[in-house]
Symmetry: C2
Subunit: 212 residues, 2 copies
């Protein structure tokens, strides 16, 4: 397809596509003349990924590039490949290990983890933030949040596996892309629903327009 058709299929404007091409976030099309090139479904998929990372994830281009680098040349070990891609996703946490609050809580909950992983660093920052605000969260409360997240995670894994043809082994780059998109695109859904369920409960006790 031509660049105008790629724009139409993706909903991304032509100048933005040209910008991604210049920045190397989208591989060049196949030249069909001195001024025109042809793009395929691979370009469309890559464009959808880049757009999700930039627009939904709010990621800077350097971090988008880090995800693409993993997709181009993933570590042979799937756990490492996925971890490297997820490390490029926000929130960006500056403190280094040891993550004492997070690891102590995860040990008490009984959830397996890599001590140096970004998700542990993010949990540490979140727990430190609660503590600094004078609202520490104990391991019991954290464990109850983890239970609900485990229900969600198990269902998500089952859904992905049900959609996959077991006769065709999954390409590692596809697995990494699934995990990245499932993180960046679904997190805002979960947070919006937490706010909406709270609003619905609050509304039951304090109908809008009432004074107390």
């Amino acid at each position: 397809m031509r660049i105008s058709e790629l724009a139409q299929a993706s909903g991304v404007a032509v100048p933005t596509i040209k910008y991604y091409l210049r920045e190397g976030l989208l591989p060049p099309g196949r030249a069909t003349s001195a001024t025109q090139a042809s793009y395929d479904d691979g370009h469309l998929q890559r464009l959808q990924l880049v757009r999700s990372l930039v627009e939904v994830g709010g990621m800077p281009l350097a971090k988008v590039r880090a995800v693409l680098d993993v997709l181009e040349d993933p570590a042979p070990d799937p756990y490492t490949a996925v971890s490297e891609a997820l490390a490029a996703l926000p929130p960006y946490v500056s403190a280094g290990p040891p993550y004492e609050r997070a690891t102590a809580a995860l040990d008490e909950i009984g959830l397996a983890y890599e001590p140096s992983s970004y998700a542990v660093a993010q949990l540490e920052a979140a727990l430190a933030g609660l503590e600094a605000a004078g609202r520490p969260l104990d391991a019991g409360a954290l464990g109850r949040y983890a239970e609900q997240m485990m229900v969600i995670a198990r269902r998500e894994v089952a859904t992905v596996e049900a959609q996959r043809d077991p006769a065709v082994p999954a390409e590692l780059a596809d697995v990494v892309q699934d995990v990245v998109l499932g993180t960046v695109l679904v997190e805002p859904v979960i947070l919006a629903l937490r706010r909406l369920t709270h609003a619905a409960l609050f509304r039951e006790r304090h109908p809008p327009g009432g004074a107390g």
Copy 2:
């Protein structure tokens, strides 16, 4: 207490406290001499709030000020006061109503909502992002996420209510502050735990160091 003691009690550096004072995010202390002022517990609490919004929420000062404005002078109706404070929190979504995807899905799920609320706008943006990436989420899947979030929200409400003395009516500004902090500080915990539960499940199927 003096500004150095406020810094120690809050963990916020003196230059940052002075910056918040200049920006009007922290009310001035009671002058005790030409160059010194005294601060109280109200200052400490306000400082903890501002720090949470800036450092954990990543909010620009104009949005922090919008939350403080609601706390200074909340609308008499609690639902409106809380909604106005939450509207200042990220993610910042630019598209206006109608939020067709979100309201159709919420109607199907059976969750009550205010059609113009920011949480509905955020859900709409999240659903549009999934659609643009070629991974639309149907109302069934959304309803299952909402179920888990409702479990979490009900427990959170019960915890807050158990900590409150029923003989003392809650100050509206305190209710608003509780909801704001419960949103900004707990959201990163929930997301970190979703990533950690996924990592634990992935690790079961693909032990680190293995090749497939």
